[in-house]
């Protein structure tokens, strides 16, 4: 299928920025560095480094073998980084990256109270309090800095209900059977280049298990922070929802401002059994690079869920405002009959950011339903692509899909692209696709101005209106934060 491409006309004769573009120039507010000693591996990637990571984490033999298998597979692919995405970047030197960096804490904390005050302050500066009393009630947090988790809140309260919420490192030690059973069951180590790399070197992440029939009473969330220089962050998240259970999970992420690019290659796997529901929300705000496109995170992430059981549901919601490059396709395999997959996305690109993001909905079971709502906002000189696949297998009787892809352009030097792929092998299915492209008009801004609203606030109102359908999917606690983030990412794009 031929991709549809919307490219706003380039006007090389006129280098002056339009009024609209002038509003996109604001500073990244999470760009600070915490001065803390780190325990690091030497840069480079080889079997010794993998043995080093595995030993640091005191992993069982099977885990090391699994990593080495992934590494050998990645080594075979090493020269074949995927090139199909609509993004451009110079080759990544994998041998210059530090694959393990842990903040050195004087003593290993046994409880949240014992966490190094400097680390605690870092998270407080980010608006994440690890102090359970001060926390928003109803949210449990796992805080991950560079390669390791430094603490998880509300562990005990959740434990009483049989819910396991801990770092991946702890899960491998304490719940090896569950990890062994489900790890790489949704995203195999051979799935793709970055998934293989992640499997070889991942250092931490969150693990979450909701037992049969339990409705998790609070939002679970992981907060990822890159701090150390020249490191990559490779985390692994695994969520298992047993029969009839429900969980809502949120992840947030930030990084310091640096001139060099840093690599973040995560893998997230979700498993929903019969009648289970998983809602996974992301507010991604990695450092996007400066106004000239220098620095910023390369965010190459594989996220996939499987609706393994009948009547199960997986819903992805993402608000993507950060990263120099985003390469990410949260997907759902609809295996169980009557299962539902959803993908709600707002992706904002500004300055020289690039995003190639979307989803895959694979309909395998009968009466499966999927819904895709993608809102792309491009400003400055950025490029924003939606790439999606809707696949209906031969036996997926009565599959339904609805896709909607809207793009909003600010200024005339950015691009919005849509690459929808549809493969249907069952003639009882119904697949719908709608797409629109629009621009913020000077008329809309003037109308707001005339009512006393300045241009920046006007853009924020227009953007949030455009993204409302997706924002409505976010848990209440984070919706307000996400709205502000949208406005901040586009500050300076209108004058």
């Amino acid at each position: 299928m031929k991709p549809e491409i919307y490219q706003s006309p380039k006007n090389d004769m006129n280098d002056e920025l339009s009024t609209i573009e002038k509003t996109v120039l604001s500073d990244y507010k999470y760009g600070f560095v915490t001065d803390i000693e780190a325990d690091e591996a030497p840069p480079g990637l080889n079997e010794d480094i993998i043995r080093f990571i595995s030993a640091k984490k005191n992993e069982p033999e099977w885990m090391l073998e699994w990593r080495l298998k992934a590494f050998r597979h990645w080594s075979r692919l090493a020269a074949e980084e995927p090139k199909w995405a609509n993004i451009e970047y110079p080759p990544i030197s994998y041998q210059d990256i530090i694959y393990y960096s842990a903040p050195k804490q004087k003593v290993k904390p046994n409880s949240l109270e014992e966490i190094d005050p400097e680390l605690r302050r870092t998270f407080e500066k980010l608006g994440i309090s690890l102090d359970e009393q001060k926390r928003l009630s109803g949210v449990a947090v796992d805080a991950v800095i560079d390669s390791v988790s430094i603490g998880t809140s509300f562990k005990e309260q959740l434990g009483e209900m049989g819910i396991i919420f801990c770092s991946m490192t702890d899960a491998i030690q304490e719940h090896p059977d569950l990890v062994r059973k489900y790890l790489s069951s949704v995203v195999p180590i051979t799935d793709n280049y970055f998934a293989a790399l992640n499997s070889a070197v991942f250092t931490d992440g969150s693990f979450c298990y909701i037992p049969k029939g339990v409705r998790c009473p609070m939002e679970l969330s992981t907060y990822f922070r890159i701090n150390a220089e020249n490191t990559g962050q490779f985390e692994r998240t695994l969520i298992i929802a047993e029969q009839g259970s429900y969980v809502s999970y949120l992840e947030g992420c930030t990084a310091p401002m640096r001139d060099e690019h840093q690599l973040h290659a995560a893998v997230v796997e979700l498993i929903a059994l019969d009648d289970a529901e998983i809602k996974y929300s992301t507010v991604q705000n990695w450092y996007p690079g400066d106004k000239q496109g220098k620095g910023g995170i390369y965010n190459f992430v594989t996220k996939r869920g499987i609706c393994k059981g009948n009547n199960s549901k997986i819903s992805w919601t993402q608000v993507e405002t950060g990263s120099a490059i985003t390469w990410k396709y949260p997907s759902v395999i609809l295996k169980g009959d009557n299962s539902t997959g959803e993908f709600y996305s707002v992706a904002v690109t500004n300055n020289y950011q690039q995003a190639d993001t979307g989803t895959k909905m694979q309909h395998l079971g009968k009466n499966t339903k999927s819904r895709i709502v993608s809102k792309g906002i491009s400003a400055g000189f950025s490029n924003n692509s939606y790439r999606g696949l809707v696949h209906v297998a031969k036996n997926a009787v009565n599959a339904r899909n609805y896709s909607q892809c809207d793009s909003l352009l600010l200024g005339d030097k950015c691009g919005a692209h849509t690459f929808p792929y549809i493969e249907v092998k069952n003639n009882t299915s119904v697949v719908e696709h709608e797409a629109t492209t629009s621009k913020i008009g000077e008329d809309q801004i003037f109308y707001c101005n005339q009512r006393g609203i300045d241009s920046e606030t006007a853009v924020a109102l227009i953007i949030n209106g455009f993204a409302r359908e997706v924002m409505n999917q976010l848990p209440m606690e984070f919706a307000v934060e996400a709205q502000k983030l949208l406005a901040v990412s586009l500050e300076g794009s209108v004058g």
């Binding site: 008009g441 809309q444 005339q450 109102l461 409302r468």
Partner: protein
């Protein structure tokens, strides 16, 4: 309240307003009439501060301040309101949310505390009753899918909510049937007071049957060529704009 002196303005090098003089005092309703292309909407846009237009000569004073020096949002803050001829649509932004933002931005400009949800709702209920406007319309995205009449009523409702000192209504009657005109005019009449003023810009006399102006001005070819009372509007209706043109030709040839 508003004092315009020798205002000359244009767009892309073309002069549209060729020396406008106009004074509006508190408590007055003025109407500006004129044929298509005479510069009526340009005048409204220039007063409100639309950047597409370039002012080449003259000055506008509003509440004793130099208006041309101010950004459009500051002009709104000073109490200027423009009812748009073509109100824009903002998908996904509820009308209520938009108005709440506007009300509080104006309050901020004037150094007042923002209204909380309860106080805002109370104000809105009061004005809704006054304007005979229903909640469902205000819950919808701003102007999106509104009929012509709904858009214009929404403009007048915003005017009621924002309580401006001077409201300029740019062809608020265009495209409306007689019932809709009556509703809009009712709204405007209810808001008239000795402290505020209204400038109506209209092509037709019929709006002036419902909103009785104190002064009527005829704008032609970028100049106010004739001023009078409401009888001037009736004369125009009777004789058409040609009589103005003829008058002018005679004046120019003499």
């Amino acid at each position: 309240m508003l004092k315009i002196q020798n205002l000359q303005a244009g767009i892309e090098g073309r002069t549209i307003l060729k020396g406008i003089n106009l004074e509006i005092k508190a408590g007055e309703v003025h109407a500006i009439m004129g044929p298509n292309g005479s510069g009526k909407s340009t005048l409204a846009s220039v007063i409100a501060g639309k950047t597409d237009y370039e002012v080449t000569e003259g000055r506008i004073e509003f509440m004793g301040k130099d208006l041309l020096d101010m950004l459009p949002e500051k002009r709104a803050g000073e109490g200027l309101f423009l009812g748009f001829q073509y109100p824009v649509e903002i998908p996904g932004l509820s009308t209520t949310n938009f108005i709440k933002t506007a009300v509080n931005e104006l309050r901020k400009y004037r150094g007042e505390e923002p209204l909380d949800a309860v106080a805002f709702l109370r104000l809105m209920k009061e004005k809704m009753a006054l304007m005979d406007i229903q909640q469902p319309l205000l819950s919808r995205s701003l102007n999106e899918g509104f009929s012509g009449g709904e858009k214009k009523r929404n403009e007048i409702f915003q005017m009621a909510m924002l309580q401006p000192k001077l409201a300029i209504l740019d062809e608020t009657d265009s495209g409306l049937d007689i019932d809709a005109i009556r509703i809009v005019a009712n709204g405007v009449n209810k808001l008239r007071s000795k402290d505020n003023a209204v400038l109506l810009i209209t092509h037709y006399q019929r709006l002036l049957d419902f909103i009785i102006p104190d002064f009527v001005h005829v704008l032609y070819n970028g100049r106010i060529v004739k001023s009078g009372t409401k009888e001037l509007a009736l004369e125009l209706e009777l004789k058409g704009y040609d009589f103005i043109k003829n008058d002018l030709n005679i004046a120019e040839t003499v």
